[in-house]
């Protein structure tokens, strides 16, 4: 059987370490495999490693699977693991955070490796499902030991070819046009899929992607615009799959500068005042956004992480929508007539991002805050609001998925103090600084007891919630369009794995 599917973006890099981005890793995960993998519900499963144990707090032992072959026929051994660890943290790798820089690899025998850490780390292997193992011989034979990097002047063999252990081999790859995979007969696992070939085509235009599904040219397309879900469901032979996604969409506010860049308030920064931030928070009618903009395909969120990834998330509740209270808070803070503020928003990054911003702008207008909305494509947007643009924003919308599926990632990236250049939490664009959260973050990193760890996390989130450092909006939903002929598994991390697919 042949599976044809389309995604909105292109598969640009085939080198598994050159781009840390969901779709790339998802697509490469069909040809390459890591030591671990994740099942349909994101639970960690053994893959190239049959099992692992923590021998000492600082020493992890992995027992590698025997009889595994790469697509080119060579055997998978501990050498390959050691090589891959070295390669993934070499210069140019975008996945160097997958392994600690000072971790040592000790090859015990051909199918056993030890990883020696400098300090204990309970979540060392959390992201190893996307840390793909490469073949040492193939890589060195083809002069691809160096990681493909954009600064390369010559072509890296690994950028256009792939040699993994995964269930599918790469047949052809034309970047931005088409990629063809073929079933790998020598795969170590029992295939649950019934595919022979898979064809991937990037289709950038939403409407065209949906049309390709509706017309039967495609078996599966993703993502699909929320407004087209009904049509896809109504259409005979296709249906939409929706499910919660891990990404949290939130609003951030400049709390670092003494004067806002884009505002008519001069000489002070109203957003440094928690009352103002709370007023913003309470002015936003999240349910309206959910039903009208997101067509119910969103889960309003009170914290900065998906409830799927944090056990105690149900303890949090959003500050209620209450424009009157919001107005009162503004007046209390000294802005009875509101003020004007510039808002930055991407218009091609998240689901209905611009529409959400517009809705927020009109909700804030009701409490007297005049929002000057500047919606831009992501290239310009990120160039402005991130460190490289000197955090040139007063009020912005962003989404975040913790790559490790863990709250520490959120705290570390978004909630710690930073300096002007971004040292600290580089994505804390608003630059608020709460030493308490910083302290908690450090504790969480080394705490091994899950229960205690979660308590610490909850405490940190509570501080953020009480101070309205961020205004979390929702977790957007995944929306895939699928032909009734195929069965697919939709994982919350938005990865599409061919090995779960059957077609009749």
């Amino acid at each position: 059987e042949t599976l044809k599917f389309a995604f909105q973006g292109a598969l640009n890099a085939l080198d598994p370490y050159s781009l840390n981005e969901t779709f790339t890793l998802s697509a490469l995960g069909n040809t390459y495999e890591g030591l671990t993998r994740r099942g349909p519900d994101l639970q960690i499963e053994p893959a190239l490693a049959e099992s692992w144990e923590i021998l000492e707090p600082n020493r992890w032992r992995f027992h590698l699977r025997e009889g595994v072959k790469f697509h080119n026929g060579s055997d998978f051994t501990a050498e390959d693991v050691a090589f891959s660890v070295e390669r993934v943290r070499s210069e140019g790798s975008d996945l160097s955070t997958r392994v600690p820089a000072d971790m040592k690899v000790e090859i015990v025998d051909d199918h056993t490796v030890d990883f020696v850490l400098s300090s204990p780390n309970p979540i060392l292997h959390y992201e190893w499902d996307t840390f793909y193992i490469m073949d040492k011989e193939w890589t060195s034979e083809n002069d691809a030991v160096k990681v493909t990097s954009a600064s390369d002047t010559s072509v890296n063999h690994a950028a256009l070819n792939a040699n993994g252990t995964g269930p599918f081999k790469l047949v052809s790859h034309e970047p931005g046009v088409k990629t063809v995979y073929e079933k790998f007969d020598g795969w170590w696992d029992e295939p649950k899929h019934n595919l022979d070939t898979v064809e991937f085509t990037p289709i950038g235009s939403d409407a065209t992607r949906v049309a390709a599904l509706l017309s039967g040219e495609m078996d599966m397309v993703y993502p699909i615009p929320v407004q087209d879900i009904k049509r896809i469901n109504d259409n005979q032979g296709t249906s939409a799959m929706t499910g919660p996604e891990l990404r949290t969409i939130f609003l951030g506010m400049d709390q670092m500068r003494d004067e806002l860049l884009y505002s008519d308030v001069k000489g002070k920064n109203p957003l440094k005042d928690a009352k103002v931030r709370k007023a913003f928070y309470q002015a936003i009618d999240i349910n309206a956004i959910k039903t009208k903009v997101m067509r119910d395909l969103a889960t309003p969120s009170a914290i900065m992480i998906s409830p799927l990834l944090f056990s105690r998330s149900d303890e949090f509740e959003r500050h209620p929508y209450d424009p009157e209270a919001a107005k009162a808070l503004l007046a209390e803070a000294g802005y009875p007539d509101g003020f004007s503020i510039g808002m930055d928003c991407p218009n091609d990054r998240y689901v209905n991002d611009e529409a959400i911003c517009q809705a927020v702008a009109s909700m804030l207008a009701r409490i007297g805050v005049k929002v000057n909305l500047n919606a831009q494509p992501k290239a310009k947007y990120f160039a402005r609001i991130l460190a490289s643009g000197n955090y040139d924003t007063s009020f912005y919308l962003l989404g975040w998925t913790p790559g490790s599926f863990d709250s520490w990632n959120v705290l570390d990236n978004l909630m710690n103090c930073r300096d002007e250049t971004g040292k600290g939490s580089p994505f804390n664009n608003g630059g608020f600084c709460d030493p308490q959260i910083d302290a908690l973050t450090d504790q969480i990193l080394v705490e091994i007891d899950p229960e205690k760890r979660d308590a610490l996390i909850a405490e940190a989130f509570k501080i953020s919630h009480d101070n309205a450092y961020y205004i979390p909006l929702h977790q957007q939903s995944l929306a895939w369009g699928v032909s009734d002929d195929v069965n697919v598994v939709q994982r919350a991390d938005n990865q599409f794995k061919f090995r779960f697919v059957t077609k009749n």
């Binding site: 087209d228 009904k230 009618d285 903009v293 218009n347 611009e354 009109s362």
Partner: protein, 318 residues
């Protein structure tokens, strides 16, 4: 402007005389003769009025964020189920009254469209006449500038101008600059068409005997270009200009999406169509179709008027 006879300036005395002259002129007569022209003129006038009187006649103010609510989003037009009597043509995805949004959006589109087309035409015609008439090195320089210009699509020009403008003026109120940025970038990306067309035709015309006669009379080159050659090369220019109007309005929307135009809270006609485009499959067709119809009507009327004007300016076609 193509050369029109001296009727008006000759008539020095009071205004009524002049008006009477205009009413009595051949142009006006041919206008009244042409049913299409009258209809098109009325149509254009109505659309202009709707656009520029929008604040007074539109039932809502769609640019006032405080007055719109997302809860009104995507209400169908009056004659459909689930409609809302407040919104005759329904609402868009943000809950803006579509009818009002069309009026307001048309104003943006008209200003941007007309200004950029006129600016482009003026630049292009001038340079085209000079290049075609003088030829030689001047021609080569102008045309190579044109080639450089052609290489940069409106998107890039807009990004450049936007960048430079915010570099110079800092982060001031974007809305003020948005118009200028849009107009300048569109004008810059369109002028080449006029310049090259006019140049080509000028090269042909300048060898004709009436131009040589003008030269013999001793009329200076600038006047020859403006009074003799220009009216004779205006035909294609008017075709391009009237068609470009549509392109300019649509391109404006594209630029706005790239973040260099009007903010999304003030959608133009083109932007409305582009927004509505996302809702075509989902059955909320009115968001795209009504602005689309408005734009098509506008373009149609302007083109018909242009057709008539072109014919009327050609004495042989009257």
């Amino acid at each position: 402007m193509p050369y029109v006879s001296e009727d008006a300036p000759d008539q020095m005395p009071a205004a009524p005389g002049r008006l009477a002259r205009i009413l009595d002129s051949d142009m006006f007569h041919s206008f009244l003769q042409s049913k299409v022209a009258v209809i098109a003129a009325c149509g254009t006038l109505i659309l202009f009025l709707l656009a520029f009187l929008a604040p007074w006649i539109a039932p809502h103010d769609p640019f006032d964020l405080a007055s719109i609510t997302i809860m009104d989003a995507r209400v169908p037009p009056l004659w459909m189920e689930y409609s809302d009597p407040r919104f005759v043509l329904g609402t868009d995805d943000q809950g803006r009254d579509l009818l009002s949004a069309i009026f307001y959006g048309m104003r943006i589109s008209l200003i941007v469209g007309f200004c950029s087309v006129i600016a482009a035409a003026v630049i292009g015609i001038t340079l085209g006449l000079i290049a075609g008439y003088l030829g030689g090195r001047v021609d080569a320089i102008i045309m190579r500038i044109a080639d450089v210009q052609l290489t940069f699509p409106a998107i890039l020009i807009a990004l450049l101008i936007d960048g430079v403008a915010s570099g110079i003026f800092g982060s001031v109120d974007r809305e003020v600059f948005a118009f200028y940025i849009l107009i300048v970038s569109l004008a810059l990306s369109f002028w080449v068409q006029y310049a090259r067309t006019v140049r080509g035709s000028t090269m042909v015309e300048k060898n004709k005997e009436y131009v040589q006669a003008a030269r013999v009379i001793g009329i200076p080159p600038v006047t020859i270009m403006a009074r003799h050659i220009l009216p004779n090369v205006m035909g294609p220019v008017m075709v391009i200009a009237t068609i470009n109007l549509a392109l300019a309005i649509v391109t404006e929307a594209t630029l706005s999406f790239l973040g260099v135009g009007m903010p999304p809270t003030q959608p133009s006609l083109g932007t409305l169509i582009a927004i509505g485009n996302d809702f075509l499959y989902s059955g909320e067709w009115w968001i795209a179709i009504f602005p689309g119809v408005a734009l098509a009507l506008l373009v149609l009327n302007v083109n018909l008027l242009g057709d008539w004007l072109r014919d009327a300016l050609n004495p042989k076609l009257r």
